[in-house]
Structure formats: structure tokens, C-alpha cells
Symmetry: C2
Subunit: 329 residues, 2 copies
């Protein structure tokens, strides 16, 4: 993942092969500006044995938001597009949706009208399309979608609408024995089928929003059935709760891009010792999108103020990243 | 942890030190009976590259019950003793407990009467003693108790009332690149402060029962406050739900000792490919305790029937373990 082996030698003795490699630039898609230097300085300090800021390996917990932080989130959260596609696919079994909002607007292709009801409308559509099947069936549906659907603007698969600098950051932290987690407002079971392949983050390190489920035996076969009832929203105040519930240890590094990540950063910063909080600021209308305080998606307002006030690292996408998406050369 | 290095050599060349070691018996506290052979055969098969039963490393998920499986659970769940101790410590702040059951019985030292109300009474006492403080405060309380309290029969710290054969099994699985998880009906935050030290299982790999929590800023300091409301019971049908929620991947190996673990085993067995389910049967009244179908703690009835019917591995503690507790020679 962008690592260059500058120097390697092979020692063949007693049948043992040893390859030593020295990484050159662990973050090649990051410009040589302040954020890159701050990240490398932080990692250097917490991994320096006998240094004053050393953090033992088990406590090197890093949490990452997903939408707008690891992959893009415009023109609308990608999971919303998945929900719209599910509504279209399920419409023949739901003739009543033709008359019923917000479903009727989705079926007419009027996304703006469908989202007029805000999060409540989105949640209603999620319940209607993400429940009523087993966990295995949903896993297959989500996986089939993510491997075939294309982004409306770029025409690229969503798993390529991923930020190359963040992939490098994840790998760099893992190379330094950090355990990397996703902590996202997105659906936990929507993310899990592909996060290991795309981000190198296994399902057990994904924290997200969820609906209720129940266990039952169907003709002797054990299944977990998804129920259209909200279980947990992993956003804002929910993020520290999700972190404590799933990880049980406070992160020393957190990354986000919106007000929804503010409480996660506060929780990270509230611990003792050196801490690092990073905000991705979407400032690049040419290569990606430019939005912050007034955006309907990923609003970045209170978080931006607090980050500036407290000196957290804010990535200016336009200036701090020399490459944005993985599909760029 | 019982591993013997039979053969080691040191190769010093170009400044590189390589130590190769060959483990002899990974399970020395296990007698050479069927269960030990079955475990070693299973691990051999799923780790045999190019073999028909090979399982890739990320899918090597093993889940362990705690009470009665990793540590003892008699004369009563150890967390219940913690709850009783907390009631005694908090009694001065709760004069009403002198007249109110089940608290009054606890304060009189009548455990049997206190537990007459079954799980409901225990839950009520857990709520009253495990809530109303921050997650950090509770962590300290649980940690202080576990490092000082002693078992009423053996006089040993509870963290030594741990089964040596199961410690060896955990280590053996991890040596073979399994990720080991606890999936227990016990309180998740009661276990997390000590599971890494005692079992080598970090907080993020502990799944358990929980109460609700909320995030807030207190004088600018972020805290997670524990609320006396039930969030999740990780027992029976709850275990597969807890596994799916936290791990998101079906175990290929599960271990338990009671009917509370039956659904976890069913879930494990319901996946494709080779699977291993293990039940610890408490058959040793001399070295530990002997109980199963009629026990008030850790009832093992339906689970025993299904294990025998389906050919799951049932450990006869008396015959299959040559050492039980870690404190034994």
C-alpha cells in the first residue's frame, strides 16, 4: 500500500530466510504539510519504548468514522443509495409504496423529496428494507450491491470512492501495532461484508448502527432474524457509547469529518497521555466535494470550531492530500 | 503456560537472532483421553494449508463462556458475591435496604434467602449496585474487588479459581492463530478489567450482559454514566445475538458448560465446514464440584442431551483433566 522497499537483503543460513525491509514514506499520498508531520510525530512518540509518551501495544486503539472519512458521502450517504435500490427491488412486493411517502418519491426517482423527512424518513426506509430476513441473507444482499453498484457521478464502484491517504494512514497505524476500528453512524451489517477487503478492518472491529435481531431455529437450522426495530444509533453521543460497548477501551487516536464525530473526539481526548484527533475537512470541489457548516450531509460546524479551539488536526483536503481517491493515478 | 521447549537453537548472523522452538505438549493438564485428541485433531485439520478442512486465519473465531467454563461458579456466580459485597459497602447510603428484600437478606448474611427470587432478584441487586457511577469508576470498583476478594471455600483469589486446562486451550488456539473471545452471561464491564491479565483476552474480545449508559460532559470532562436499566442479557438465545453484534462472524469453535451455552453451540454448528463444540461437565466433587441437571447454578440438562445426541465433545472433568485449578501444583 504505497510502501517502498529501499533496502533488502536475504540471509540464507541454516535454511532460514530473513528479509529485512525499510519503509521509506508510509504516507505518500499526503503532502508534506503540517498534518502529515503531526501524525508521524505522534506515532513516533507513542511507539518510542522508554519515551515519556510510550503507549503499550494493547492500548493503541484507533477509531475511524466511515462516511466522509474513509470513503466519500456525496451526493448522499452511499447506504441511502443502497436503501433506494432496495426499495426499487422490493416494490413489486409492496404495491402500497406507490402511494406512500417517502417510498413513492424514491420510486419516482425524486431523491430530494424522499429525503425531505430527514433522518426519520431515512430510518423508516432502512427498517422497511433491512429487516425481515436473516443476517446471512442481508449479508449477501449488501455484498451483491457493493460489488455491482456504481457511484452516480464518477461511475466508479463505491469501494473505489475510498480515500487513498486514509488507506495509507490505516496501514501505517497497523504497522505500528495499532488496532484500527470503524465507528460509524452507518449500519454495522451494511459495512461488515466489505470492510476487511477494502480497509483491512475485520467485522469484529466494525462498530455501527443496528436494528434488533432475534435467534431462532427454523426447521432445526439456527438463524438470526432481523427485526424492523431500532437497536442503536452510533452517532454523536452514541459514538463513545458504541466504543465503550464494543471496544471497552478508550481510543488514543480518532478520525472523523463531521459534527457526528465530535463526541468521539471528546472521548478520545478525555483520556490521560498523548492523544490524536483528526478531522477531514472537505475543501476540494474539483477532486471531491467542498462542504462544511451548511451541508445536509456530514455537517461540520461545531466540530470545526472545537477542533480549531483545541488545536486538533484538521485536514485541508485540497492542500494536504496530493491524491484523493484510490482510483486516481 | 505449560509449553516445553524441546529444541532450540540460536543463529547469530549479520546481527540477526533467530530462535526456533518446538512445542511438545500444548495441553499438559489434559489427560490423554478422547477430548484432548479431538481438540488437537480439529486444530490440525483447520490449520492444514491445502487440506480439505482448512480455515483462513481471519475466520478462526473461538468463543468461550466464562462462569463454569473458564473459572468456577460455585457456590454461586462470583459476580453475585461481588454484588453482595457491594450491597454491604453501599448499605450506609441506603438505610431502606434494611427492610427491603432481597437487600435485607444479603445484609443479614442469608445468601440463600437473597437468591430465592432467582435471576430477577439478582438483576435487581445488580442494577442497584452497578449503576449510578461512571464507567471509569465502575472499572476501578470491579478491579479493586477482584484483586482483594477471596473465594469462600478455597480462600484463593477468584482469578486463581481458573481452570488450568482451559488456559492451555486458549493459548493453544491462539498459537494456531485463533482469535479467542469470551461470550458470557456475566456483566461485560465486570469482566473487562481483568480478562486480559488472567486469560489473555483483551476488553474488545469480551461479550457480556450490560446495562444502559449515556455520554455526557461534566464540567467539560466527558464521562460515560451507567444507568440502572437493562440493555442486553448475553445468555441462551442472547449468545448468538451477542456474537453477531460484537464479532459479526460465526465461531468455528465454542466452549461452554450449561444450558445457557446451548444456542451458542447451535449457532457455531450451523455454519459450513468443520466445527467444534465443547461442554465442560462438572463431575469432580473432590477437586471442584459435581453438578448438572438439577443445579441452581449452571444447569446442564438440555445441553447435555443435545451434546450427546449430536456428538459434541463433553469434558468429564474428573477423568479428562489431570489438573483443575491454576493454584494446584
Amino acid at each position: 500500500m504505497g510502501f517502498i522497499i529501499r533496502n533488502s537483503f536475504v540471509a540464507l543460513t541454516f535454511g532460514i530466510t530473513t528479509i529485512c525491509s525499510f519503509a521509506e514514506d508510509p504516507l505518500p499520498s499526503w503532502s508534506d504539510t503540517a498534518p502529515k508531520k503531526a501524525i508521524i510525530e505522534f506515532v513516533g512518540k507513542v511507539t518510542k519504548k522508554d519515551g515519556p509518551d510510550f503507549v503499550p501495544v494493547p492500548e493503541r486503539i484507533a477509531t475511524f468514522d466511515n462516511d466522509g472519512c474513509l470513503w466519500a458521502e456525496q451526493p448522499v450517504y452511499f447506504q441511502a443509495i443502497f436503501i433506494f435500490d432496495r426499495i426499487k427491488a422490493l416494490a413489486p412486493q409492496h404495491p402500497e409504496w406507490k402511494e406512500k411517502e417517502p417510498f413513492a418519491s424514491v420510486l419516482k426517482g425524486d431523491v430530494k423529496a424522499a429525503l425531505k423527512g430527514g433522518e426519520k424518513a431515512l430510518l423508516e426506509m432502512a427498517m422497511a428494507t433491512h429487516a425481515g430476513m436473516t443476517s446471512e441473507e442481508f449479508d449477501k444482499i449488501a455484498n451483491d450491491w457493493i460489488t455491482t453498484a456504481k457511484h452516480p457521478k464518477t461511475g466508479k464502484p463505491y469501494t473505489e470512492m475510498v480515500y487513498q491517504p486514509m488507506l495509507e494512514l490505516l496501514a501505517y497505524l497497523r504497522t505500528n501495532d495499532f488496532k484500527t476500528f470503524i465507528v460509524s453512524g452507518g449500519g454495522i451489517e451494511f459495512m461488515r461484508p466489505w470492510t476487511e477487503r477494502v480497509y483491512g478492518i475485520p467485522p469484529e472491529q466494525v462498530v455501527g448502527s443496528s436494528i434488533k435481531t432475534k435467534f431462532e431455529l427454523r426447521d432445526g437450522k439456527p438463524v438470526i432474524v432481523r427485526i424492523p426495530e431500532l437497536n442503536f444509533i452510533d452517532d454523536k453521543e452514541g459514538k463513545p457509547i458504541g466504543i465503550q460497548s464494543h471496544i471497552g477501551r478508550r481510543p488514543i487516536f480518532s478520525a472523523g469529518n463531521s459534527d457526528g464525530d465530535l463526541q468521539m473526539h471528546q472521548w478520545t481526548q478525555g483520556g490521560e497521555g498523548l492523544r490524536f484527533s483528526l478531522y477531514v475537512h472537505h475543501t476540494d470541489a474539483d477532486r471531491e466535494w467542498a462542504y462544511d457548516r451548511d451541508s445536509h450531509i456530514g455537517r461540520f460546524d461545531k466540530g470545526l470550531d472545537e477542533a480549531r479551539e483545541k488545536g486538533w488536526t484538521v485536514i485541508d483536503m485540497k492542500n494536504d492530500w496530493n491524491r484523493v481517491f484510490t482510483f486516481e493515478k
